[in-house]
Subunit: 490 residues, 2 copies
């Protein structure tokens, strides 16, 4: 661990990349834009999946699985959808390789597909093709389906976790008898995402609505949660779409009501992805490495023994065994690291780099005094704690860390949300400290576009809990019905 790392304050982007390597989360593959998620990074994603999956099931959603490939013609069925997705997708054109005369492996020209297949960038089209078979009457509704899957969008500029050509995600797809119910479903999921972000990731989010230009291709309304990263840039962390009857019409999905009258169903879709891991990193981490909220940490407590002889080692191991058992029974994950090949100092740095919330060290003097040294990752404070009641101390500390991370991130966001009333102020803040800028906007796409061109800031969302405050647009001076949130974004 002797290497010099870039400080977060020096170069945020470099710090981020180094941190991912240092904490052993992921790496680039040779395949353009695709990443390898390493075991420790995958363990964090697994924890996220587990929690979200429970929440989806608790709200009546069933998991299913739909094909990876989408026939090209499906994409074209919804006019806006194809515009949004056709440009950046992987296209399968052949189904066989062969050896040529030089013995090289080449694509077999004889094995050309009649219709090209698209590797799913999102699954609305293939899923609505199935929904057509599944939905006949109101009795089949609501239909609430989720799938955990990989998707591919041919991004030109990629970044580990934040934007990769292939990424892992969940996508929910629901169908309803009424517009109200479909809107409610999209909003319910937004609330679940926000709850997950705040209470598991300790990442405060603004719930809001996207402007028309930032809307999902094929949606009537896109709801989103937006988080603020430590460098003052915003991150869209999850979206939930009210799809109206667009896909129902595109795939001719109608239901018969109690009277036998048939109408198009109403729909929602929603997703979060491995991008959340990037958001997690950029919300809490520091110059020592990753900082993880306890509820998502694969290892919550690392215990490092310090000893000079076998007798001490055994005495420590015995005490730790009892402690570990008690902690595990409380559902706390513990790693006792008695690897002889690594020195305690090396281990301390390693667990800091990996963001383990609580580190316990126990040495000969602690043995004598019936103590342990407990270090918390969020503040890097250490305490000498009596072994009696240590498990309760740790349990409480984990809760405290979880809460502290959220309140710290919340405070950061408050300090980095600026209300401005002139475009000069606007430009100054965006070019300077960054963060969210709350400003009046005249509601036109033209103004939105011009502000983007001049400042690189986009409208992250029209916040849901906005006060109905009228004013004048910072850019055009035209009337505005309320403030919206601008920021530069990932």
């Amino acid at each position: 661990m002797g290497a010099k790392y870039t400080k977060r304050s020096e170069d945020y982007s470099k710090w981020y990349n180094e941190l991912i390597e240092r904490a052993d989360l992921a790496e680039h593959s040779d395949v353009r834009g695709c990443m390898v998620i390493k075991p420790y990074g995958y363990a964090i994603w697994e924890r996220m999946k587990e929690v979200l999956d429970q929440k989806f099931k608790a709200t009546g959603h069933d998991n299913a699985y739909f094909p990876l490939f989408i026939p090209k013609s499906y994409l074209s069925k919804e006019a806006e959808h194809v515009e949004g997705f056709a440009k950046e997708c992987a296209v399968v054109t052949h189904y066989r390789l062969k050896n040529n005369e030089e013995g090289e492996v080449v694509v077999d020209p004889e094995a050309k597909l009649e219709e090209e297949l698209i590797v799913r960038p999102t699954s609305e089209t293939i899923i609505w093709k199935s929904f057509k078979n599944w939905i006949q009457s109101y009795r089949d509704l609501p239909l609430k389906i989720n799938q955990w899957a990989n998707v591919v969008r041919w991004e030109m500029r990629t970044r580990l976790f934040l934007r990769t050509a292939e990424f892992l995600w969940q996508e929910g797809h629901t169908a309803h008898t009424t517009k109200e119910e479909a809107v409610e479903a999209s909003e319910e999921m937004l609330a679940i995402y926000a709850d997950f972000a705040e209470n598991y990731m300790s990442m405060p989010v603004v719930k809001g609505i996207k402007t028309a230009s930032e809307r999902f291709a094929g949606a009537e309304e896109t709801y989103c949660i937006e988080a603020l990263m430590q460098d003052g840039k915003a991150l869209q962390a999850g979206t939930s779409h009210f799809l109206g009857q667009n896909f129902a019409k595109a795939f001719d999905v109608k239901f018969a009501d109690q009277n036998g009258d048939r109408s198009y169903v109403w729909a929602s879709s929603w997703g979060v992805s491995t991008r959340l891991v990037g958001g997690l990193i950029m919300t809490h981490s520091d110059d020592q490495g990753l900082v993880l909220p306890p509820r998502l940490a694969p290892i919550q407590v690392a215990i490092v023994p310090i000893y000079k002889n076998e007798e001490q080692r055994e005495a420590i191991a015995k005490k730790v065994e009892v402690l570990s058992k008690v902690l595990r029974n409380k559902g706390i994950s513990v790693k006792f690291d008695d690897d002889d090949n690594k020195r305690p100092g090396w281990k301390f740095a390693e667990y800091e780099a990996k963001g383990v919330p609580v580190r316990v060290a126990i040495g000969p003097r602690d043995l004598e005094n019936n103590n342990a040294e407990v270090a918390r990752r969020d503040t890097r404070e250490k305490d000498i704690v009596s072994w009696d009641g240590l498990e309760l101390y740790i349990e409480n500390l984990l809760t405290e860390i979880q809460e502290n991370l959220l309140s710290r991130a919340h405070k950061f966001r408050e300090e980095n949300t600026t209300s401005v009333d002139t475009f000069d102020e606007f430009k100054q803040v965006i070019a300077g400290k960054g963060g969210f800028v709350s400003a009046h906007w005249d509601g036109t796409e033209a103004t939105e576009q011009k502000i983007k061109e001049e400042t690189k800031a986009t409208i992250r969302c029209i916040p849901k809990d906005i006060k109905g405050e009228s004013g004048t647009c910072v850019y055009s001076g035209e009337a505005s019905a309320g403030r919206v949130l601008f920021a530069k974004a990932y």
Copy 2:
């Protein structure tokens, strides 16, 4: 449920397809060879995943995730591997679509990839490319990685669950310092697969070794578990490969030992897939539908109330609530089906079709007598059971069903395993009742091939627990070191 279904004895293949539709497990998609796994089918796969994942983790394996796409040149690095997989794969050649002059969506010829990408048919090559970065010294070993993923093999003849172009699976990939350890790893996983098959799926399996011609492309040895389906055909249910140093050499992966000497690492890989769901269906199910072993059943107990008025309905609901709570506390999944729109008889048939292990019915007379009617799915026997102690009765019944399914399947396999000593007998059995045929074989690929051509039976495996019984080959009359198992196979 008024439809007439094909009997298992009439047309096994048709019965299988109808059963999948009837139990609502999966359906064909429009994409050639790709299936949609419906919620109930996916729930079974999720149970399988959960159990296997625990077993992998308990034996020290970590999950990770590697890219979906493999550069064409990687496949060619291991000579036998490319032979085995290049022929049947989906090839990505372009990364963009565009609108042509007629406004149609077409592949953009400008967006042609320099090197084609293969949709992974299995991930040895891309994973060994990463292992090259991960392995430097003996301290990095053993490396024990698993991934849950989708893979694609362009199969010409597909069948739901058993053989689909895209399927879901897990693939384990391990690296070791010694040959012995790598062999041990392959064998350990074979034992885990066999344990899972027998103790969770109630599906008895023969553990064995594949002949050279049936070996995984790139392996030194392929271990397998082979099960016998109700129609007398064998199913390869899982494989585990000792890869020798083949992939280490292909990707130049060496480790430095304690003395700093560098050698190629030794490897294993292993996998099971959604094919197991097909095996599960074809091991236990009957003319009434699916039969599920309790340990993998998404719903273990279905409770159906029978009532004539609101008062009865409430009294039943109250009793059931208490029972359900007790059962759920024991980890038993319960569904109380009080849907007013469906009649009890319809529900009975529905839960039979879905293979729910235990069905409890309670009506007015049962209320009076403090009884319930308990039906078990495996034997379709019914019993009147006192409400007092019902939870214990159900708990025991679930264990009994689990065991009964295994012993029934075991008995079936014994009855359908025939030892033959002449080729006439061989042909007669294979053309007749089918099943496993235990016969002497001279060990040559030529004989194996001829037997296959004449009878369509292949060597399923050289069983691991075979007695060292010498004899003469049923086909060639040459010397044989022991019997092997032949069968027609899926």
